[in-house]
Symmetry: C2
Subunit: 493 residues, 2 copies
C-alpha cells in the first residue's frame, strides 16, 4: 500500500484533518508562500477545467457571452454602493504604488515612493462596480438590453482564516453580470442561473443541493435578494456552493445607468450577478470521498478508467498490451477518458492504492491468466467492489458502469442528507442535536434578532428559506412568534 495512503487521517478521527490531508495527498493543491493563496496542482486543475467546460456550455446555452473586465478597481468605485463597500472594504488587497527601485543601501529593491498612485486600486473582490461603470456606456435604450456577460477570473478577498478551496484569499471563479429592462426579467434571470448551478451540481458533481433564498442578514452586499444552493457535507455541515443575486436597481443607481424604455422614458437598469468558484472543488471532495481517498463522479473525473497490467516479464506485458490497446481505443471511441498505466517503475499494488487515492472511478486489472480466460477484473471506486467480467463487450459494460457510479454516488449523498435532515420544533432539541451536524427545518419568526441569537448560541446560521418546501404556518422555535414556513438551519463552512 502506498505510503501516502497510510497517512490519510480517518474521517471519524478528524474530519477537518482528513480533508486537508486529502487535498495534499491526492495532488489537488498546496499552500503557497503567499498568505492564504494556494497553488492548484495539475490533477486538481484538471477537475476544475472539467467543471468550467460544462458550466461554460450551460451558460452559453442560456445566451450568455464571455468578456473580460479589469483586475483592478479604483477605490472610489467601491464606495458608490453603500452596502457593497461595507461588505468588501475590510478584506481587500490594495495597490498603492506602481514601481520598485533599487534600495539605496544596495540590498534588493524597495517600493519607489515617487511612484505612488493618485488613487489606490483594489484587486477585485467581485466586479459589480467596474462592470456597471462600463455598462453605463453600453446602454442607451431598451434595444440594448438584455446584456448577458460572464467572466472567468481570479478574485481576492483577504480572509483571516483560510482553507484550501473552501476559503482562500485568491480564488478562481466565474461571475455573471446581466442587465435588464424590467425587474421581472432580472429576477427570472437570477432564478434561472441558480437552476443552472443546481443542475450542474446534481448532474455533474453528483452533489444534491437545496435551493432557496437567503435571509436579509446573509444577502450579498448590494443585493435585493440572494438565491443559494446549499450542499451537505459528510459531517453534516452546510456548504454554500453557488449564489445568484437579484440586484434590483442598486448598482444602476450607484453608477447612473439608465435606459430609455418602450414608453420613451428614462429608467434605471435592473441587474443580476451570479457566481461559483473553486470552492466547488471543496464540495466535490467532501461530499463523496472516503478514508481511502477521493471518490470522483465519472462526469468530472479527468481519468475515468485506468487499466493496470499485471505481469511477470516483458513478454507477458507485451501480450497483455496486445489485448488491452484495442479496448483502450474502444473506450475512447465511446468518449471515455482512459489511462493505460503500463509503467514499469511501480508495482501494481502501489498503482492500485494511488488510483484509489486519486478517485479514478473504474479500475481494470488484467494479468496473464485473464488473457487465457478472456476476462478482466473490474473495481469500482465508489463501493470498492471487484468483479471478473468477460473481455468481450467490456467497453460497453464499463460505459454503463460509469453511469451507474455517477447515479450511485448521487443517491448515496442524497440518502446521507435525508438521514441528517431533521424537522425540529423545540429550541432545546435543536441545541442538542446541532452538535452532531445536519440540516434543521425549523420555524423562525423572520427577525434578524432571532437569527443572530441562534448564531451566537449555537454557531448555526439560517442557510436559506428553501424554494421547494411547502408553506406551513407555525411558531418560531426560539420566540414562539408566528412563522409562515420552515427555514433550513445548519452549521456551515
Amino acid at each position: 500500500m502506498a505510503k501516502e495512503l497510510k497517512d490519510l487521517t480517518k474521517r471519524k478521527d478528524n474530519y477537518s484533518q482528513w480533508y486537508n490531508d486529502l487535498v495534499i495527498k491526492a495532488d489537488l493543491a498546496e499552500q503557497s508562500p503567499v498568505r492564504g493563496c494556494m497553488v492548484i496542482k495539475p490533477y486538481g486543475y484538471a477537475i476544475w477545467e472539467k467543471m468550467q467546460q460544462q458550466l461554460d456550455r450551460m451558460f452559453k446555452e442560456t445566451g450568455v457571452q464571455n468578456a473580460y473586465f479589469p483586475l483592478l478597481i479604483p477605490k472610489s468605485f467601491l464606495c458608490k454602493e453603500a452596502e457593497h463597500v461595507e461588505g468588501f472594504a475590510k478584506e481587500c488587497a490594495v495597490v498603492t504604488h506602481y514601481r520598485l527601485k533599487n534600495n539605496p543601501d544596495g540590498s534588493g529593491v524597495v517600493v519607489d515612493p515617487e511612484a505612488k498612485l493618485e488613487e489606490e486600486l483594489i484587486i477585485r473582490p467581485t466586479s459589480e462596480t467596474i462592470i456597471w461603470n462600463t455598462y453605463r456606456n453600453w446602454i442607451n435604450s431598451y434595444r440594448d438590453l438584455p446584456i448577458l456577460c460572464n467572466q472567468w477570473a481570479n478574485v481576492m478577498r483577504w480572509e483571516m482564516r483560510t482553507r484550501m478551496f473552501l476559503r482562500t484569499a485568491e480564488f478562481l471563479w466565474q461571475e455573471g453580470h446581466t442587465a435588464h429592462a424590467t425587474s421581472e426579467e432580472a429576477e427570472a434571470k437570477a432564478k434561472q442561473m441558480l437552476n443552472v448551478y443546481s443542475d450542474f451540481a446534481e448532474k455533474y458533481m453528483a452533489v444534491p443541493v437545496v435551493k432557496g433564498v437567503k435571509t436579509a442578514n446573509e444577502r450579498f452586499a448590494g443585493a435585493v435578494d440572494t438565491y443559494t444552493i446549499e450542499a451537505m457535507m459528510q459531517d453534516g455541515k452546510a456548504l454554500q456552493s453557488g449564489t445568484s443575486h437579484f440586484l434590483g436597481q442598486n448598482f444602476a443607481k450607484a453608477f447612473d445607468v439608465t435606459f430609455v424604455n418602450k414608453d420613451n422614458k428614462p429608467e434605471y437598469v435592473w441587474a443580476t450577478s451570479w457566481g461559483v468558484s473553486t470552492r466547488l472543488m471543496g464540495a466535490l471532495i467532501m461530499t463523496h470521498s472516503d478514508d481511502n481517498g477521493l471518490v470522483l463522479p465519472p462526469h468530472l473525473a479527468p481519468i475515468q478508467v485506468v487499466i493496470v497490467p499485471i505481469y511477470k516479464n516483458n513478454e507477458q506485458r507485451d501480450e497483455i498490451s496486445k489485448t488491452v490497446l484495442p479496448i483502450v481505443d474502444q473506450l475512447r471511441g465511446l468518449g471515455i477518458s482512459v489511462k493505460y498505466d503500463d509503467a514499469d517503475n511501480r508495482r501494481p499494488g502501489f498503482k492500485f492504492a494511488d488510483y484509489e487515492l486519486k478517485g479514478v472511478p473504474v479500475r481494470l486489472a488484467i494479468g496473464a491468466r485473464d488473457i487465457e480466460n478472456g476476462t478482466v477484473e473490474i473495481m469500482r471506486r465508489d463501493t470498492l467492489e471487484k468483479e471478473v467480467k468477460p473481455l468481450a463487450g467490456i467497453a460497453e459494460y464499463v460505459s454503463e458502469l460509469l453511469e451507474k457510479i455517477q447515479q450511485n454516488i448521487y443517491d448515496k449523498a442524497l440518502a446521507m442528507r435525508k438521514s441528517k435532515t431533521y424537522v425540529v420544533d423545540s429550541y432545546e432539541e435543536f441545541k442538542e442535536k446541532i452538535e452532531d451536524g445536519g440540516f434543521f427545518l425549523c420555524h423562525w419568526d423572520g427577525t434578524t434578532e432571532t437569527e443572530e441569537r441562534i448564531k451566537e448560541e449555537t454557531k448555526a446560521t439560517i442557510r436559506c428559506i428553501p424554494w421547494d418546501e411547502p408553506d406551513e404556518p407555525g411558531v418560531c422555535m426560539v420566540t414562539g412568534k408566528p412563522s409562515a414556513r420552515r427555514v433550513i438551519i445548519a452549521r456551515n463552512y
Copy 2:
C-alpha cells in the same frame, strides 16, 4: 452604410488611428477607467477563446498540463534572479495593504494604515519566481522530471505607453514553465514550443511568421536564449507575437532547485518558459483587416457564415426561412458556425456593413427571387467578391470556400511580407528605406554597441537571427566587421 463604418479611418491616412478605430468599432475592446487596462468585449473575447481552445489543445498534445499559481509574488522572490528583477521591478503594481476603513471625516474609505503588509506583494508580471519556488518542493530525483506546466492567467506590467491588445498594463496570456534533467532536453522543449506557436500563427491566425533567436540585448530577463516569432504588419512594422525561453539553470540556482541525477549526484534543474498573450489579437487584426473593417481567418472567426434574408413582408421572410433553416443545419453539421440574422429591426444594407466591419468570412444573402431560382448570393469578406450559386450543394461549397479564404489571406499576408523584405548591404540605403517599413536582412557584427547605434539612429531593432536563413558570411553594414549571417532588422510594435 452603417454610420460606424463611415467613420473608420483609412489605413493610408493614419494606420495607427485605423487600428484604434477598428478595435472600438468592431466591438473588440475598449479602454477602462483604470489606466492602461482594457475591457475585452464579448466579440473580441470570443476570438480570444477560439485562440485559447486551439493553443490549449496543441499544448496538451505535447504532454503539457494546466495548473494555477498565485497572482501575488513576494517582493523578495523577484530579487532572487538578478537580471529578472532588473527587467521587471520598474513596471510592477505593488500591494502594500490588505484593508480599507471608513474615513474618519465620513467621506468614503481610506487605506487602513494598520493593515500594512510586512512584505509588499507584486502583481505577477510573469511567474518564473513563484513557480520555481514551488517546483523546489516538487522535484527530488530525475524521476520527477520533466515537469510540464502551463497556466492561463492575467499578468500586469505597468507600461507607460499602452495600446489596446498590443501593450496594456493588464493582459491575458498563457505561460508555460517546464523543468528538465538536461540542458539538451530543455533547449529542445523551448524550440518545440516556438514551433507550436509558429504552427498556430500560420494555420489558425493565417499570419506568416519568421522564427529566430533574439540577440543578447533583446532577451527575456533571466533567459539564456529567447526564441521568437515575428510577424509583419501591413505598415511594414514587426510585431513580436510569441516567445519561448531557454532559461538554463538560472532560476533553479536562484531558488535552489536541485535533483539527484541518474549518476546519483545532485544537479540544478534546467528550465524553459514560453508565452503568448492577447497581443496576438493585435497581430490578427493588423495583418488581415482592411478599410472596410476586420478580416478574420475562418479558423478563428466566432461567426464563420452569416445568412441575411432579404424580404418585403413577413410572408416572404417565412418562405425564405423555410429554405434557409435546413441549410443552417447542414452547415452546422459540417462543424461551421452560422448565424441566421432575420432580425426585423435593421435593414439588409446595415447588416451587410456591420458583418463586413466584424470580419465575418462568408455572407449569404437570399431574397424571394433567389428562392424562385434556387440560388443564393455569396460574398467572401477577404476579396469582397460576390457570386450567385445554386442552393443545391451550397453547404459543401461554403465549407470549401472557408478553407480557400483561410489559405488566401495567409498567401496575401505572405506575399505582402515578401514584397517588403529587403536584402540590404549598405547602411545608407538601410537608413533611407527603413522609413517606409519592412524587414531588412542585413549583416551585423554581433555587438550590442552596433545594435544600439542602429536603434538610436533609425528606431529599428534586430528582431531576430532567423532560424531558416542560410549561413552566409559577410561584413556588418554599419562597421564593416565580419558577420557570419544576416539578421532581421525592423521597426516594431
